[in-house]
């Protein structure tokens, strides 16, 4: 029994880890450079392409493959290639002239059932400054945004840190591996006016009032002694003052 419990515990922990894994899709980097990423995954995959050129004319090359897994939550996994020696140098050169680094993905739907229907015309693209990518050691965050029906509508990319300080990168720093955090974000549902909790709260207030009989009493019931006292005091003072006035009147 105990072992069973232990096992289930482990299992749950494991599933939590895998969930985390799929949610964040913390990317590992295959060291098989130049190889086309295998796509025999459950779900489907689309290419993620990038471009960084000295003349700033986009020429997109494969950076990796985005693998989507079907199911309720849109989990995504990115397997990407290593930057080649040539690419690294180009990237550094582009960074030196403050060029831009672009990425793009084709427009896809995560919900459609048929592979043929997933793809639409065109691409979604984003960019960062190449220098910030270099200075952050290729650590970036890529977010795919979907609309209500599961279509990918936009891609965004930021590097952490995002600034370009212009510091000289040492040659030893390996610009080989991307350290990418990738996620899919669906639109959040905006709240509606919350009438039910408000009414509930009002009712609670009313109940509280009802429970406390002190507050139920009227003003006179609560402070009758003060009013009476005040009245007596007033009468006493006014009666005490009359004789002198009356005396003066007589004189």
């Amino acid at each position: 029994m105990a072992t069973m419990r232990g096992l289930s515990l482990i299992l749950s922990v494991l599933s939590a880890i895998t969930l985390l894994w799929t949610e964040l899709g913390e990317c590992n980097n295959h060291r098989r450079s130049g190889e086309v990423v295998d796509t025999d995954f459950s779900g489907f995959s689309v290419p993620l392409e990038h471009s960084f050129e000295m003349d700033d004319v986009p020429r997109f090359r494969l950076r990796g493959a985005l693998q989507f897994r079907g199911g309720r939550e849109n989990s995504v996994y990115l397997s990407q290639n290593q930057l080649s020696e040539k690419d690294r140098n180009t990237l550094k050169d582009v960074a030196a002239v403050d060029g831009i680094y672009r990425i793009r993905v084709p427009r896809v739907s995560l919900q459609a059932d048929w592979q043929t229907e997933r793809r639409s015309e065109g691409y979604l693209s984003a960019f960062v400054r190449a220098c910030s990518l270099v200075e952050s050691n290729l650590s970036d965050v890529i977010t795919l945004h979907t609309d209500v029906s599961g279509y990918v509508i936009g891609i965004s990319m930021v590097t952490i840190p995002g600034s370009c300080r212009g510091i000289e990168m040492e040659d030893e720093v390996d610009l080989e591996l991307f350290n990418t955090t990738i996620s899919v974000v669906a639109p959040v549902t905006a709240p509606s006016p919350e009438t039910a909790p408000f009414i509930e709260r009002m009712e609670q207030e009313m109940e509280k009032k009802g429970k406390n009989p002190q507050e139920q009493k009227s003003f006179f019931a609560k402070y009758w002694y003060l009013i009476l006292g005040g009245a007596v005091f007033l009468m006493a003072t006014s009666s005490a003052q009359t004789p002198p006035g009356g005396a003066r009147e007589q004189s």
Binding site: D56, D98, I100, R102, R104, R107, S120, G122, Y123, L124, S125, A126, F127, V128, R129, S132, V141, T143, H145, D147, V148, S149, Y151, I153, G154, S156, V158, T159, I160, P161, G162, S163, C164, V185, A186, P187, V188, T189, A190, P191, S192, P193, E194, T195, P197, F198, R201, E205
Partner: protein, 964 residues
């Protein structure tokens, strides 16, 4: 106890934000102007000689009665917008005005003196063709309404339907006109294009068809445009191709063909390509029309003809003559003829309709506004003078919708600028400095040239100031001797100058008709107007202030981008917003359609902001395009980004400027159009200042705002309109990087969505399709407890997404527009200005729209002054900034900061225009109107003297003590 505290806090909050106008402040700093729109029908009340009434019906579905002596309203009725309230026809008889509304849906009769509704009848469905008053035995008793397939006959006093008859062969015959000569018969005339005319004769009592005949007329395509009925029931038509007139006696059964009269026999000729127009007149619906009629042969050539014994004879040839109109008073019918003398003057003359003879001393010479276009229509009001001669007044409608009322011998009685009923864009521009201020300003503007010249310069400017002050004093003294009523502070273009607190500004308004107005904001006086001719009616306007008044001696400069909706081709109109004059700057030629325009913060050497225009090939044109500007653009090219929206494809894309002024695509977001379509994209206002970087929380920590100036709010509506599945999408997208900062879906919601995007928040209003109510939702973005980079904001370097808070509320009123107040430095708390469809403008404190309003009150939220959450938004009548001055059909609200931090200028425009000031945090920087200067100064002086005296006394006392 806690509840009590909360309540007190709440009421204190309300007290703090309470704003209303006191009774004696009414009209002190606000004004309203009411309009009617472009006049389609205008009728003078000829019932009695002394009547001042003028009934008008307009394209804005307004039915009003104007005082013809002053141009003011007696009353005005604003009907529904769109085709539902469209006024099809206006007829008048005595005290009754009969109106057909909504493509023949309703028939209404109004009492014209007070504007009360006498009766209303719902008509059968069917598209409206014509309506006419029908008289019998000299009295008008009925009204007939012709629809496409049926004719109905109504009693004029009660509106009750007497009979309704289906028209014979209505699927092939187009019935277009009704005619009745007051002899108990009603003729309905229809045409089968290029084949024949159909005439159906009805008996007036029961709608029985007495006779039906068809007459060959192979040349005719439309009855309405080419025919008229003259004298005792003769149909007269004109054919431009054969150059001939055709006549047909309606009642006769013998005549089987139309009688042809060649125009050549009358020595007349129609100008080529011109559709001749026949104008006849029927002064009394119970009597047959006159035998005289006008024939227009070319745009400036009319002829008065007479039909007598089956023959047509010309009475008088009017050349040039641009407009003609008949008018009747008593038994006399006259014809007024307007002819243009030159571009700015025209003359109107009166002629007898029967003889064509000119009435003596009836010439009106009218000097037109050179910037007002051509006269379009003329409405004549004739009356009998004491000596039984005919006098007349004329209302002229110009191309720019202006109404001008003229009297003999050419006096303009009043003018109404009806173009202002449709304002599409506006800006407020500071007024220029006074001469003396400019003098001082000029001193600082010049370069220093030695010590002595500077001293001399200063002395001279001080002397000028002294002179101006003395002149001012003298004027005060001079004015004080005059009776108060004769001292009038009339604003003219010469006396324009900025006031102390910059509360008076120039409102530059662009109207849909293409007329520009410069209106002084304090009194609402139109100081200049400029009509842009040759503007397509469905053009899109974008008004930009390129140079403000701050750069003396350079004049301020506004640029209007006019874009044709169909072709997309644009043109620029550059003008001085203070005087309305066109600037003599070279405007770039724009051969390709313009898809985006942006005003850069870069300025050229003359302090004009640079305007970039992007055409459909993504080529950039700069204006002004001097060398200096191009150099600056090259230097800054890598930091100039812009976005484009293609709502038909749901595509948003970002571009960056290159050094050679070409552009490159850098990001793309595509929102599939199958599910939703983009309805609006809005950035933030450029002249907005945010005073505080964050909000202080209850625990004394700071929650920093996410203040991204490049943030775009994109609103989409679902294509599925089912109430359960419809939604409104809200996307916050960075305009530089294309990053989707936030994406939310409001479920079961529908448009129209109105929204304001400002500071770190966005407020939007939508229709909740499930609960059938309007709801407000507020989104606020925060960076968190720490700022990523506190010195500068860059979209390229802000990796962490902001925290988004959102809350929604019920708003118990329909909304037509939304705007936020704006102040000079942004210290004053913000209010939302909500234009309600009822015509009120609600000033709603932003404190009520705060997503941090807590469900349960805590110590910290109380510390922060947060109002506990309540789902329903309150509407207090004292929050209506326009008290009882409702603004009909508010379409837009414009806010502008003034020189006072507490004050924000507001202009609401729609059918009416309303201008006022609002004080969102009350007038904290202004002394009240009833501030007691006398008391405070007497107290001060009193205290001063008391100190002096007591000091003296104390000295004496000390001295005395020393002697003792």
């Amino acid at each position: 106890m806690a509840w009590l505290v909360v309540r007190i806090a709440f009421s204190v909050c309300l007290l703090y934000t309470a704003l209303a106008v006191f009774e004696d402040q009414v009209g002190k700093f606000d004004w309203r102007q009411q309009f009617i729109g472009k006049v389609r029908f205008a009728l003078f009340d000829t019932h009695s000689q002394a009547s001042k009434k003028l009934l008008v019906a307009t394209d804005k579905n307004v039915f009003a009665s104007l005082n013809s002596r002053t141009g003011d309203f007696f009353w005005r009725h604003v009907d529904k917008t769109g085709p539902e309230g469209h006024i099809d026809s206006l007829l008048m008889d005595g005290q009754d005005a009969v109106v057909v509304i909504g493509n023949g849906r309703l028939l209404r009769s109004w009492e014209t003196t007070v504007g009360g509704l006498k009766w209303e009848t719902v008509l059968d469905t069917g598209s409206f063709q014509a309506a006419a008053l029908v008289g019998v035995q000299g009295f008008v008793k009925y009204v007939a309404v012709l629809k496409k397939t049926a004719i109905s006959f109504h009693d004029l006093t009660s509106g009750s339907q007497i009979w309704v008859e289906n028209l014979p062969d209505s699927d092939s015959v187009q019935y277009q006109t009704i005619y009745s000569g007051g002899n108990g018969l009603l003729f309905v005339l229809g045409v089968v294009p290029n084949s024949h005319i159909v005439i159906v004769e009805y008996k007036m009592e029961d709608g029985e068809i007495m006779n039906k005949k068809s007459v060959e007329a192979a040349w005719m395509s439309s009855l309405e445009s080419s025919c008229a009925v003259i004298s005792s029931g003769i149909l007269l038509c004109v054919d431009p191709i054969t150059q001939s007139l055709y006549t047909l006696l309606l009642q006769s059964t013998e005549q089987k063909d139309m009688k042809q009269i060649h125009l050549q026999t009358l020595d007349l000729e129609v100008a080529s390509g011109f559709q001749p127009v026949l104008t006849s007149t029927q002064p009394n619906p119970a009597q047959p029309p006159l035998a005289e009629f006008f024939l227009q042969l070319s745009p400036d050539h009319h002829i008065l003809l007479q039909h007598k014994d089956g023959l047509i004879a010309p009475l008088r040839d009017f050349s040039p003559s641009n407009l003609v109109a008949f008018a009747t008073t008593g038994e006399k019918t006259v014809a007024a003829v307007m002819s243009l003398k030159n571009d700015t003057a025209c003359s109107i003359n009166l002629f007898s309709a029967e003889t064509g003879r000119r009435h003596l001393d009836t010439t009106i010479i009218y000097h037109m506004d050179p910037s007002g276009g051509k006269p379009n229509r003329m409405y004549v009001h004739a009356f009998l003078k004491k000596d039984d001669s005919v006098g007349y007044r004329v209302m002229v409608q110009m191309e720019d919708h202006t109404l001008t009322f003229l009297q003999q011998p050419g006096r303009v009685v009043w003018t109404r600028e009806e173009a202002l009923a449709d304002v599409v864009a506006m800006e407020m521009v500071d007024l220029p400095l006074t001469g003396t201020q400019a003098e001082l300003e000029g001193e600082f503007g010049k370069k220093a040239d030695g010590l002595l010249p500077m001293v001399l310069k200063r002395l001279s400017s001080q002397f000028i100031l002294l002179q101006a002050w003395l002149a001012h004093l003298w004027k005060l003294f001079y004015d004080a001797r005059k009776p108060r009523s004769s001292v009038r502070n009339e604003v003219t273009i010469e006396t324009l100058s900025r006031d102390e607190f910059n509360l008076q500004k120039m409102m530059v308004m662009v109207t849909a008709s293409g007329k520009l107005f410069g209106i002084e904001s304090k009194s609402g006086t139109v100081l200049w107007k400029h009509f842009l001719e040759n503007i397509n009616p469905n053009s899109v306007f974008k008004l930009m202030v390129q140079r403000t008044t701050a750069h003396f001696p350079h004049p301020p400069q506004c640029t209007l981008l006019i874009k044709d909706k169909d072709t997309g081709l644009g043109s620029l109109h550059v003008f001085n917003p203070i005087f309305g004059k066109r600037s003599h700057t070279s405007v770039p030629a724009l051969p390709r359609p313009i898809i985006q325009s942006l005003l850069l913060p870069l300025i050229d050497q003359d302090y004009a902001k640079v305007l970039l225009l992007i055409d459909d090939q993504y080529k950039v044109t700069a204006f002004p395009s001097t060398k200096n500007v191009l150099q600056q653009l090259q230097d800054k090219a890598s930091s100039i980004f812009f976005y484009l929206v293609e709502s038909s494809q749901g595509k948003l894309s970002g571009f960056r400027l290159r050094k050679d002024l070409s552009t490159e695509l850098i990001w793309e977001v595509v929102i599939p159009t199958e599910a939703q379509k983009i309805v609006a994209v809005k950035g933030k206002r450029v002249n907005e200042h945010v005073h505080s970087q964050g909000r202080v929380m209850g625990d004394r920590s700071v929650l920093y705002k996410y203040l991204n100036p490049n943030l775009l709010a994109v609103v989409t509506e679902s294509t599925d309109t089912h109430q359960e599945r419809s939604f409104v999408g809200i996307f916050l997208i960075d305009g530089v990087t294309g990053r989707i900062v936030h994406e939310a879906v409001q479920r079961k919601a529908r448009g129209p969505v109105h929204f304001v995007h400002s500071e770190n928040w966005m407020v939007y209003v939508y229709w909740n399709a499930k609960f059938r109510r309007n709801e407000f939702s507020v989104l606020e973005l925060f960076e968190g407890a720490e700022l990523y980079n506190s010195t500068v904001f860059s979209s390229l370097d802000r990796p962490h997404p902001p925290q988004v808070l959102q809350q929604s509320y019920i708003f118990p009123a329909p909304i037509s527009t939304l705007e936020a107040t704006l102040t000079e430095k942004g210290i004053t708390s913000r209010h939302l200005l909500v234009g309600l469809t009822s015509g009120n403008i609600l000033s709603l404190p932003k404190i009520f729209l705060d997503p941090r309003r807590p469900e349960v009150v805590s110590e910290q939220s109380r510390e922060e002054n947060l109002i506990p959450y309540a789902p329903e938004m309150p509407i207090r009548t004292e929050w209506f900034i326009n008290y009882n001055q409702t603004v009909s059909r508010v379409r837009g609200l414009y806010t502008a900061p003034s020189g006072l931090e507490s004050t924000c200028l507001v202009v609401a425009y729609g059918l009416d225009i309303y201008q006022t000031r609002v004080f969102p945090s009350k007038q904290f920087d202004v002394l009240k109107d009833d501030y007691d200067y006398v008391l405070i100064s007497s107290v001060l002086f009193g205290l001063f003297f008391a100190t002096m005296i007591s000091k003296r006394l104390a000295e004496v006392k000390l001295l005395n003590r020393a002697w003792r």
